[in-house]
């Protein structure tokens, strides 16, 4: 599904990703962990097509297509979804209008007609239950006045509506209390399928108790320096990152 090869990217003059490679197959869940400043969020931004980042080297193919040939909105329509770490507020724009526009574009890309108002509302009702947001979204503007937890739940709700094939969760667990973490994780788990892959960026093992990954990668200084299974996350939780840093420095 996604193949990243020797990816280098920088923001302004600072190189942040320095030769990152990763292969994600359909249905897999990859957790990406690592100390602050290692490039986790940069990876998410580069994949989503944010223009502040300049790709200087490497390739990324997504379902056989060159990702860098696609504009951000095309990537989204092709099935890449980024759950933002800090979902932005758009005052005056209703959640429903926003989602309707987004879903319309995604469906159009797939050659589908827009949903009727009735079907759309039915879908909203159904999907918002996944993250326990049912009935709370109509009449409110996109993320405006939402609590931190509501914003994250709204991200997962949008994900459920748009049915992407690759979901990137950028520190979705940050700022969540235990209940919200459980709700968000349940939402994500409900969306797992053999066709849908996830890249879960997180600082904490606790998220991975809920969303159990197939692989765990440690990102350090712009590269993946260690990969393993979910046990690696547990080890990191106990031992911190210093031992990995030492391993890397000693090479």
């Amino acid at each position: 599904m996604l193949t990243i090869k020797d990816l280098h990217a920088r923001v302004e003059e600072k190189e942040i990703l320095k030769g990152l490679s990763l292969e994600v197959k359909p249905g897999e869940v990859h957790a990406i962990m690592g100390p602050n400043g290692s490039g986790k969020s940069t990876l998410a931004s580069v994949l989503a097509g944010r223009e502040d980042f300049e790709v200087t080297e490497g390739t990324v193919t997504f379902n056989g297509k060159d990702l860098f040939e696609m504009a951000a909105e095309e990537r989204a329509r092709e099935g890449i979804f980024l759950a933002f770490q800090y979902p932005v507020e758009i005052p005056g724009v209703s959640n429903m209008n926003f989602l309707k526009a987004a879903l319309g574009e995604v469906r159009k890309h797939k050659g589908l007609e827009p949903l009727s108002a009735k079907d759309f509302l039915q879908l909203v009702k159904e999907k918002s239950k996944l993250v326990e947001l049912d009935g709370q979204l109509t009449n409110r503007s996109v993320n405006e006045g939402f609590s931190g937890g509501e914003k994250k739940r709204n991200e997962i709700f949008q994900m459920a509506m748009l049915e992407p094939s690759l979901c990137i969760l950028d520190e979705t667990d940050s700022g969540l209390d235990i209940d919200a973490l459980r709700i968000v994780s349940n939402g994500v788990n409900a969306l797992r399928s053999p066709e849908r892959s996830f890249i879960v960026i997180t600082h904490y093992q606790r998220l991975l108790d809920h969303i159990v990954p197939d692989y765990v990668h440690v990102l350090y200084k712009g590269r993946i320096v260690k990969s393993g299974t979910k046990e690696l996350a547990l080890e990191l939780e106990q031992r911190g990152y210093d031992w990995i840093k030492e391993e890397v420095e000693s090479i």
Partner: protein, 482 residues
């Protein structure tokens, strides 16, 4: 890839005017220039009574003693008033029993504008007084309105059929001495709309006039007078589009509203005159005087405007709150793009006791345009317990445009409470990226964000107008963000 700040803005702002087309209808035109003879000609063409001719001539004399105002934050070549033709009317003015008898050319124009009169009749119950250049050619729903005693007709007709009403109210809110353009309008106005709602009548439909400047080199001097008698209500819609032109066209309208005891007038405008091309050539000069008089107790006048057009706009729909407990409101969205300049706002003059006013102004500047809010809140000595709330927000779409706010507050009564809030923000790249990441392209993203920003004002528009206004905002800003 996604967007490059300026590039995106460039695109949005370089969208060509969509309604730029002209209609081939023969016009009956006065020679260019302005003097007493021209005024006599206009008056004679319209078979006006002597008092109105004298009224015009006096206005002309007043105008000759005035100079063009210079205080607005706009720059433009001063119009040559002797190079303008002051009268033009479709030559074969049809007398219509129904819309089917309308000139096919006119029908086509209206179709292009999306104003199918039958459609509006059927769907929304809107009576339309369509103004093609200066003379009304079609009026609908008249009979139905007549049953209620509502008068809704062209100004020319009102002068003939209801001279006592016209004479009683014309120039009482905007006197001929008011300003340069109001004086000019008073001297040469050719037509416009007249509306009278009798005592106790709630007008059951939105009254609507579509203005259209069609004749090259013809100044448009429309005159609108709306009188709401005691305990009556009317919602009046005014919408404009104009064909693409190279030379500047002057428009100097006067709109007067009068609300008597317990009466309410809601006046909504969507203005989309040709703003000039993306290099700043051509476009309409829009120098309008709009004012409402809350003459009676508990009366209310509400102005709502969505302004996207004109090269230069100079416009301050105002309220004189004379009656005790009267209410004035001003809701405005003004969009400027490319080289457009707008200096717009309102005046709220509090005279009566317990009067209150609300001002919500949303400016959107793109391209290299200049967008100014200019507002006056005046609380007179007599106005005990007057209240005002003003909110003036500016949204910048580029690094090269300007947003300015000139609030004037004059308070002469200690019991007054006046609040003013102002914000300026730039359209957020984060917001746009968020939309892009959900599959929404840049232009649609901008349209969503801008319509969200202007929502408080758009919500005040009647339903059928709100949809049109949203489209207009999107069209006006297409290709302009980055």
């Amino acid at each position: 890839m996604a967007y490059e700040g300026d590039e995106l803005l460039e695109n949005v702002t370089s969208k060509e005017y969509e309604f730029g087309f002209t209609t081939n209808i023969e016009s009956d035109k006065a020679p260019v220039g302005l003097n007493e003879d021209i005024i006599r000609l206009i008056s004679a063409k319209k078979n006006e009574p002597e008092w109105l001719l004298q009224w015009r001539l006096e206005a002309f004399a007043i105008w000759q003693g005035m100079t063009e105002p210079n205080w607005a934050h706009v720059k433009y070549p001063k119009p040559d008033f002797q190079a303008i033709s002051y009268y033009s009317a479709p030559k074969s003015k049809p007398k219509l029993n129904s819309l089917d008898e309308l000139d096919p050319e006119l029908r086509k124009t209206m179709d292009k504008l999306g104003i199918s009169l039958e459609e509006q009749k059927r769907l929304s119950g809107v009576a339309v007084d369509f103004v093609m250049d200066s003379v009304s050619v079609a009026t609908s729903f008249k009979e139905k309105l007549a049953e209620l005693g509502i008068i809704f007709c062209s100004m020319s007709e009102a002068v003939k059929e209801h001279p006592e009403l016209v004479r009683k109210y014309l120039g009482t809110v905007v006197p001929r001495t008011d300003n340069f353009y109001a004086a000019l309008n008073s001297a040469v106005f050719t037509d416009g709309s007249f509306c009278y709602i009798p005592k106790g009548v709630k007008c059951p439909m939105e009254l609507s006039t579509y203005f259209r400047i069609n004749e090259a080199n013809t100044g448009q001097f429309e005159r609108t007078l709306v009188v709401a008698d005691e305990s009556s209500y009317v919602s009046y819609l005014e919408g404009c589009t104009a064909p693409m032109r190279d030379e500047n066209q002057l428009h100097a309208a006067v709109v007067e509203l009068i609300a008597l005891d317990n009466a309410e007038i809601k006046y909504s405008t969507v203005q989309n005159w040709y703003p000039g091309d993306k290099d700043g050539n051509g476009g309409i000069f829009n120098f309008v005087t709009k004012r409402g008089m809350c003459a009676g107790v508990n009366s209310k006048i509400s102005w709502t405007q969505v302004e996207t057009g004109s090269a230069v706009t100079w416009k301050y729909p105002s309220c004189i709150l004379k009656g005790d407990n009267s209410v004035g409101e001003f809701y405005s969205v003004a969009v400027t793009n490319n080289y457009q300049q707008a200096d717009t706002g309102t005046k709220m003059i509090h005279i009566g006791k317990n009067t209150s006013s609300t001002i919500i102004s949303k400016g959107i500047s793109a391209g290299k345009s200049q967008n100014s809010y200019r507002g006056l809140v005046q609380i007179n000595k007599s106005a005990d317990n007057a209240r005002n709330f003003s909110q003036c927000d500016s949204l910048l779409m580029s690094d090269r445009c300007g947003a300015h706010t000139f609030p004037y507050i004059e308070v002469k009564n200690k019991t007054a409470k006046v609040e003013h809030e102002a914000t300026t923000s730039k359209i957020g790249e984060d917001q746009i990226f968020y939309c892009l990441q959900r599959g929404i392209d840049q232009e649609q993203a901008i349209s969503l964000i801008v319509n969200g920003y202007a929502k408080e004002v758009l919500n005040k528009l009647p339903m059928e107008f709100a949809v049109e206004a949203q489209k207009l905002l999107a069209i006006s800003l297409e290709g302009s963000v980055g």
